[in-house]
Each structure stands twice: as structure tokens, then as C-alpha cells.
């Protein structure tokens, strides 16, 4: 039953470009990017109990490094991609070391402050980042000689990376390390008493999460062929956090569903009204007050109740 579900999902995702128009293919690619971003944030927020409001740092940093290297140094994608991933992960090591001096709200404020530093730097360090103009004139890579410039081939590229990313994150969560991580979330003191290095577990998770954030950043800059300081802003971090919370934190499917909801809302609503920020704000308030558990756990609960009602004899 479960395997059949996966097969249907895989077939639907693989077949989408055959049936859908270009607009929807591109929307799906954007959802994939947002899904990696939200799923990586979920490692911290959901499984680690560490609410980060600076996750856009990783997306933006990887995108900026990659864009800067190819524009200003004239390097090809084979060089920019690994350096962008490595550089971003190293910065994540440093930011994690600082942010994890605190937990809870202190952690949240530190991640927010640190990401605002990157945002401000992207705006002001004009000689490197071109400031408010952003870096433009970028290209998409051509892995194995496959041109990714049309919507369909980029869709498959993004789908492949997303599948690998989600799978590796699922492996991380399901591993003994993932169990220890959840332990530090629920009972940090007991984990410490049991001999686990709570700080180290959190730091490794922070870095791992930053790495996948960087992966989403690379996809982001390949898709848009453009990067602007707005991608480092608190709004960008908040969108990721909203995707996690709306979909349901500490579930695998939650952030993916949440990312889809946020991206669809953003794409559709922006077409009709300019006030995306206000809507984002309202969605935040409404989700937190009315659906604090998230959509996926909420649906699971309803499905469980329906199943029970179906099975129990009247």
C-alpha cells in the first residue's frame, strides 16, 4: 500500500512536464527549491527544537558566492558550486558556534542578528555584491552536457537534487544521531547526563542544515540566474519558517507541503495584489493561532479519526 503510494507520487512527479504548461513546471521547480530550504530548516526547528530566524543566510550566501565567482572571477560551474557549498558550510560552522551559545529565544535572536549582518553587507558592499542592483547575467550549469535552460530539463534537475536532498535528510533524522538530536530537543539535561555532548549534537545539526540550505541556494541562483539582497532578508527566512510551521515541524512531509503552500500563495497572490508581505504576516498570525500543529499533522490526526470511525462498528 505504502509502496504503491510512493510509485504513484514518483510517476506523477516524473510525468508532470508532459501534462503541465511551462508556468506550472516552473512553479514546481520553485517549490522544490523552497522544499529543500524548508526541510533543512526543519532539521533545526523541528528535530532540534532550535528556532532559527536566519536560515536565508545559507541560501543567500551560497547563491552570492556562486554568482560572484562566475561573474567577477569568470570561473565555470564546476568550480563555483563546490566552493559555494564549502564556503557556506564553513560560515555555518562559525555562525553555529556563536548562535549556539544560547538556546531558545536567544538562539533565535542571534541567528536573526547574524543573518541581518549578511543582509546589510550584501546591500552595502557594493564593490562585491553590486548592492541593490543584485548580481545579474548568470547562467545555469550544464551537467553532463545537458542544457538546463528550458523549464522541463531544469525541472528534472531540481527534482533529482530535491529527491536526493530529502532522502539524505530523512536518513539523518532516522539515524541514531537523529534520535539523539530529538533527545536533546525533548530532554537536554537527561541527554547530557547520559553522556551525550548536547552542544556538539546541536552544532553538527546546525552545520548539516546550513549545508542543505546552501544546496537550495545554488538551485535558487541557477533557477533565477539572478541574486538580490532580498534573498538574505528576514522575510526570506520567515517564509522558510512559515513553510515549516504551516506544514508541520518535525515531520518529513510537513516542510514540503508547507513550502508548496507558501510558493503557491506567493505566486498566485502576487499576480493579483502587491501586498505579499501583509498576506505573509496575516498567514503567520492565523497559522500560529489556529493551526499551531501544522497542516500535515492536522490532516494526519483527522485521517486517524476517520479511520477509527470507519473501522469501529456502528
Amino acid at each position: 500500500m505504502k509502496r504503491a503510494g510512493w510509485l504513484v507520487l514518483a510517476a506523477a512527479l516524473a510525468g508532470l512536464p508532459w501534462v503541465a504548461g511551462e508556468y506550472y513546471i516552473n512553479l514546481a521547480s520553485q517549490i522544490f527549491i523552497a522544499a529543500i530550504f524548508a526541510a533543512s530548516l526543519n532539521l533545526l526547528v523541528g528535530y532540534g527544537g532550535l528556532p532559527s530566524l536566519g536560515h536565508a543566510s545559507w541560501l543567500g550566501l551560497a547563491a552570492y558566492i556562486s554568482a560572484w565567482m562566475s561573474l567577477k572571477l569568470g570561473l565555470g560551474h564546476w568550480a563555483t558550486a563546490p566552493v559555494a557549498l564549502l564556503g557556506t558550510t564553513l560560515i555555518a560552522c562559525a555562525f553555529g558556534w556563536i548562535s549556539l551559545r544560547a538556546t531558545g529565544l536567544g538562539f533565535l535572536m542571534l541567528t536573526l542578528a547574524l543573518s541581518q549582518v549578511l543582509w546589510g553587507t550584501a546591500y552595502r558592499w557594493v564593490s562585491v555584491t553590486d548592492g541593490d542592483n543584485g548580481l545579474r547575467g548568470l547562467t545555469r550549469p550544464a551537467p553532463f552536457g545537458i542544457n538546463l535552460d528550458d523549464a522541463g530539463s531544469f525541472y528534472y534537475f531540481a527534482l533529482t537534487i530535491t529527491a536526493v536532498a530529502i532522502w539524505l535528510m530523512a536518513v539523518f533524522v532516522a539515524s541514531p544521531f537523529g534520535a539523539a538530536l530529538r533527545g536533546t530537543r525533548d530532554q537536554a539535561r537527561r541527554m547530557s547526563a547520559l553522556g551525550h555532548d548536547v552542544w556538539l549534537i546541536r552544532w553538527i545539526t546546525f552545520v548539516y542544515s546550513g549545508f542543505w540550505g546552501a544546496v537550495s541556494g545554488l538551485l535558487f541562483v541557477y533557477y533565477n540566474k539572478y541574486i538580490h539582497p532580498a534573498s538574505l532578508s528576514i522575510t526570506a527566512s520567515a517564509e522558510g519558517l512559515l513553510a515549516v510551521i504551516a506544514g508541520g515541524s518535525a515531520t518529513l512531509a510537513g516542510p514540503i507541503v508547507g513550502a508548496a503552500i507558501v510558493m503557491i500563495l506567493k505566486n498566485y497572490v502576487s499576480a493579483y495584489i502587491e501586498r505579499w508581505n501583509m498576506l505573509l504576516g496575516f498567514v503567520f498570525v492565523i497559522i500560529v493561532i489556529f493551526v499551531p500543529e501544522g497542516v500535515v499533522p492536522g490532516l494526519q490526526r483527522l485521517a486517524g479519526q476517520a479511520k477509527k470511525a470507519w473501522r469501529s462498528p456502528r
Binding site: 556563536i98 551559545r101 535572536m109 549582518v117 552595502r124 564593490s127 493561532i289
Partner: protein
């Protein structure tokens, strides 16, 4: 010489404005364990509301008082109607304040438009003061004086009055404070209103220096966060010292190394957090 004096005064004026913002943020966080991310937005909203008030009341100080009161009422409503039902859910409260800050930012954009709006300096304070042949911009001196007076008033409120003692008790040990009969719930609202009023009035008083523009909230909030993390959560002295430190680092950083001002801004906080996670004067770890 003149240049450095101006820069020093700029840094002191910015420090003063930061104190108005950070003191409230710090008290709210210290007492209620709410990271109030609307604080930057309340500052910006204060500036914009001040602009509208100035159309009818052509006096900056009166406008600051009225604007501060309006922002205080708004803050109180947010606290009572939205944050209170979520008490105990720290993450939920942060997310709601974040959502509200987006709404406020977009509302300001809708109502007051996207162009920066300057707030004129009061005419009496436009002429610089000359001391020993060096010109000092008067308004910045006045802003500094206001911040120092506010700091003194807050210090007396916190240290010499019954209400201050109750707030301090709440910051140190909320459950014990409740147990001995301190009306912590009412204190929460009062402190939230006070913090909002300071932020709103700060936005108006800062208007002649910074003017009002979209993104002012995103510029000010991280500064307040850094001040609070640096000085120590819930500590008035920490907010005071941190504000002037960050004001100086920011002003001189922008003057000397404009490209990397934001990175420099952040160094003092890294050093302090690395060696003393509770901040310079904080009593509790965050």
C-alpha cells in the same frame, strides 16, 4: 577636528535613539520572555505617525508624546489580544510578532508611500552651538540629553519605586513573584506599553536625524537585538552601555569602512557572547 566631533555627536545621538528602542525590548524580553520582533516596526510606525501628527500639531515634542501614547495603546492591544492567549508558547509568540511586523511594514508602505519622508528639525534647534570655536549640532545634543534623562527616569522607576521592585522581582523569578502576590499579569501589559511608547517616541525624536523610510524597521531591529545581547537581557544598565557602544561602532564603522560597517557592528557582540553568554550586565543567561 570638526569632522570627528560631528561623528562623535552622531554616534552619541544614535546611541541615545538605540537606548530608547533597546530599553523597552530588553525589559519586555527580560520580564515576559517575549522576543518582541515588532519593536523595530513600532519605532518606524512611531516615526510615520509622528509625521501625520505634525501636520496638525506643529511641535515635535508634543508629537512625540502623542505618538508615543498611540503606539503604547497599540502595543497594549497586541499584548492583551494576541500575545496573551499564546502565553507559554514562546515560539508562537515570536512568530506572531514577526507576522505583525510584516503587516505594520506593509501598512506603512500603503499609507505613507515608498519615498523617505523627512521630519524637520525644530526651528529653535537648527542653529549649531559654538563652544570654543567648534560647532556642535544642537539637535543631536538634545537627543542625547533626552536619552540620558529617560535612562535616569527608568533607573529611578526600576530602582526606587514599588512598581520597579515588582518588575525586578518578575524578571528575576516570575513564579516566585506571582506566589507572593505581585500582579505579574498587569505588570506585563504595563511594561509592554512602556516599551512600545519608548520605541514610538524614539521614532519621532529620531525623525530629524534618520527620517522615516520603508526598511527603517529592518535597520533598527537588529541594532536593538545586538544592543540587548551585548548588554545583557533585562538589564537597563546593559541596554544603556550597549546602546552607546553600538552607536559608536556603527557610526565610526560607517565613516571609516562603509562597505563592511555591518560586519564591524557585529564584532563586539561576538566577543561578548563568546566569553560571557549572558551579556555584559545580564543576570540571566538567554
Amino acid at each position: 577636528m570638526q569632522y570627528w566631533i560631528i561623528q562623535t555627536l552622531n554616534s552619541l545621538a544614535l546611541g541615545g535613539l538605540l537606548f530608547l528602542l533597546a530599553a523597552g525590548f530588553s525589559l519586555i524580553f527580560g520580564l515576559m520572555r517575549i522576543a518582541n520582533l515588532t519593536h523595530g516596526s513600532l519605532y518606524m510606525l512611531g516615526a510615520y505617525v509622528g509625521i501625520s501628527i505634525l501636520k496638525y500639531v506643529p511641535n515635535l515634542w508634543l508629537a512625540a508624546i502623542i505618538g508615543g501614547a498611540i503606539i503604547a495603546v497599540l502595543g497594549g492591544l497586541v499584548e492583551r489580544l494576541i500575545l496573551r492567549p499564546l502565553s507559554g508558547n514562546a515560539l508562537g509568540q515570536v512568530l506572531v510578532t514577526l507576522g505583525i511586523s510584516f503587516i505594520i511594514a506593509d501598512l506603512c508602505l500603503m499609507v505613507w508611500g515608498g519615498d523617505p519622508i523627512p521630519i524637520p528639525t525644530p526651528r529653535a534647534l537648527q542653529q549649531p552651538v559654538f563652544v570654543g570655536g567648534v560647532a556642535f549640532p544642537t539637535y543631536r545634543l538634545v537627543v542625547l540629553a533626552i536619552a540620558v534623562v529617560t535612562a535616569l527616569a527608568l533607573y529611578l522607576l526600576m530602582d526606587r519605586t514599588r512598581i520597579g521592585a515588582m518588575i525586578r522581582a518578575g524578571v528575576d523569578d516570575m513564579q516566585m513573584a506571582r506566589a507572593v502576590g505581585i500582579p505579574v499579569s498587569r505588570l506585563f501589559t504595563a511594561v509592554f506599553c512602556l516599551g512600545a511608547a519608548l520605541a514610538g517616541a524614539g521614532g519621532i525624536i529620531g525623525g530629524p536625524i534618520m527620517s522615516a523610510y520603508p526598511g527603517l524597521d529592518a535597520d533598527m531591529l537588529p541594532l536593538a537585538l545586538i544592543v540587548v545581547m551585548l548588554g545583557g537581557v533585562g538589564s537597563l544598565l546593559g541596554a544603556f552601555v550597549g546602546s552607546f557602544l553600538i552607536g559608536a561602532v556603527y557610526t565610526f564603522g560607517t565613516a571609516l569602512l562603509p562597505d563592511l560597517a555591518y560586519v564591524i557592528l557585529f564584532l563586539p557582540m561576538i566577543v561578548v557572547i563568546a566569553f560571557r553568554p549572558r551579556g555584559l550586565f545580564g543576570r540571566q543567561s538567554v
